[in-house]
Amino acid sequence: MSKNMGQTQNTGSTFLIRVIQWIVRKFSSGRHALRGQTILKIGLVVVFLFILTTGLTQIEGLTPYHPTKYRDAPRLEGPSIRHLMGTDQLKRDVFSRVISGGKASIIVAFGAVALSMSVGAILGWISGFTGGLLDRALSLSMDAIYSFPSMILAITLVAVLGTGIAPMIWSVGFVYIPTYFRVTRAEALQVRETTYVEAVRAVGASDVRIVLRHIAPNTVNAIMAVSSFNLADAILTVAALSFLGFGLPPPAPDWGFDIQNGQKYLQSGSWWLITFPGLMIIALSLGFGLIGEGVSDLVNPKRKRKRV
């Protein structure tokens, strides 16, 4: 028993080490991996800048005006030198709110993807490796969720769980589980049939060991490619949830919520309230999308030649 547990722990940490090694090898030891990967580099820079800006602007005093407390600007005025992105109906500075409004999006996107990645991948490994009735039941359930509009599912879940960051992570994360399940299951099915798995089984390796040491590492490439695109999509889903009013409670600055707020003043032509938060969402989502393109090229060099 204790021997078995030790082994599980050992193989579990091995998988973690493999993932870290993968990231280190592909990215930071980088001169080789990143050479010629312009798209990937641009994406990484964009995302890094967003995280940095959002992180720094959470500190009071680092935005031109306080995003919530400052209320001395003219009401609903278009962009000017003093207020680069105009002002809102509560006489606040839109620019200060926009540059600090990405907190929820970034936290929820990473949290949700981490959640769906771990749950989806583990279920995928187990399902693909064991096969049989369990595999059928899991596949059918996942297909049922997958075929349903993810946006509607996320909205329903967030309505059930309540508003705020944690409920959004759970609901957005849940919606993406089938994506990882499908990818890892497909890989696991292939690896299961290889001769090296047969060989380690012959020398008496346990199922847990085979899954974690031989199947899991082979799915890392696929997971990495999927997850960056997934982050891009998660940013949009989070923005939509906030837009519908399921996000951070006001007056916290938040892109999606600020757009909803701007919608009320749309008839008067106050375009700046909507335009700028939206451009931020696009830029961040695009950043993750570019990383996705780059990573896909990295893990599948053939793809680069005939990139779609």
Binding site: S147, F148, P149
Partner: protein
């Protein structure tokens, strides 16, 4: 039984467990909802416990969960989705009242996405690696980084409010709405049947921005896939043969390549339709479009259990039917598929 008939039966049988899983799932998540529908409906605070208990009993939420589940499934089987807590009307009636609006929006959104997405993909593929190809590709990538609701609002601000080309929201103009009598619920169809050009133009104008918004979400994805698929097909031997025979380039693309390029796109159409329905939630909200999806959002806000359940079940069944149609239509597009 012939091949295709057996296939349809098999697909139908496979749809049942999928739906059952989805229905059970919907039932479960709605029963752990923190908000209390009785409280939400009665509103206010100082309500006597007797009244709450009475309403609980009336709505049937005081019975054991398994009994509720059984009734729920049996109800759906008979086409009875319960009564809306808010309007006291049967949910099915409410849904069918709004369904034409959603279908009309989805159809025109799809039309836009199809023309724009497929067209741009084919243009990019036939001019691969030229400036126009790069421009289109950047547009494709940009389109799925763009929040749908934001795009819709941008159209509203600039094309409707600033330029006044289109109405901001709704399905029909205020003044016309008094005289306009919808029979089928499909306003465009009704307005054409009415023979009144003024109504027709008004209804069509109301449809343009929502359809573009919804279609935009899909056009990038569709465009990317069409480009990839078209590039693949253009490298095939039969295209080379056709060209070598001296067939005109336009005919090579139109009749040899296009049809084959369509196959992989149709394969994933079912999933794209799911994206479309998800996009409909946001489009309908932004444009005050009285469809099924915006009904769902308002039901969630009002914690209207039967209405939420009903809408989701309705959408799930609808998507299953679409998926079934897509699967069967493979054989029409690709004669090599045999069941």
């Amino acid at each position: 039984m012939s091949g295709i008939a057996r296939y349809i039966v098999q697909r139908l049988l496979l749809t049942i467990p999928m739906l059952l899983i989805l229905l059970t799932f919907v039932f479960l998540i709605l029963r752990v909802m923190p908000g209390d529908p009785v409280m939400a409906m009665l509103g206010g605070r100082n309500i006597s416990p007797e009244l709450i208990a009475e309403y609980r009993h009336k709505m049937g939420v005081d019975r054991p969960i398994l009994v509720q589940y059984g009734e729920y499934l049996f109800g759906i089987f008979r086409g009875d989705f319960g009564e809306s807590f808010r309007t006291s009307e049967p949910v099915v009636k409410e849904l069918f009242l709004r369904f034409p609006a959603t279908l009309e929006l989805a159809a025109f959104g799809l039309l836009f996405a199809g023309i724009f997405g497929f067209g741009s993909g084919v243009i990019a593929a036939t001019r691969a690696d030229r400036p126009i190809d790069h421009t289109i590709r950047i547009f494709h990538i940009g389109s799925f980084a763009t929040p749908l609701f934001w795009f819709g609002l941008m159209l509203q601000v600039f094309l409707a409010v600033k330029l006044g080309w289109f109405p901001v929201a709704g399905r029909v103009g205020g003044r016309i709405a008094f005289t306009f009598n919808s029979i089928t619920g499909f306003y465009l169809l009704d307005s054409i049947l009415s023979g009144n050009t003024k109504i027709m133009v008004d209804v069509a104008k109301h449809l343009v921005l929502p359809a573009i918004t919804l279609g935009f979400a899909l056009s990038g994805l569709l465009g990317r896939m069409s480009r990839a698929s078209m590039l693949e097909v253009l490298g095939e031997d039969y295209v080379k043969t056709a060209r070598a025979k001296g067939v005109k380039e336009r005919i090579v693309i139109m009749s040899h390549a296009l049809r084959n390029a369509l196959i992989p796109i149709v394969t994933v159409f079912g999933l794209q339709f799911a994206i479309l329905m998800g996009g409909a939630v946001l489009t309908e909200t932004v444009f005050s479009w009285p469809g099924v999806a915006s009904f769902l959002v308002r039901s969630i806000e009002g914690r209207d259990w039967p209405a939420i359940q009903g809408s989701i079940v309705f959408i799930a069944i609808f998507i299953s039917i679409i998926n079934l149609i897509v699967d069967i239509s493979y054989s029409i597009i690709d004669p090599r598929v045999r069941y």
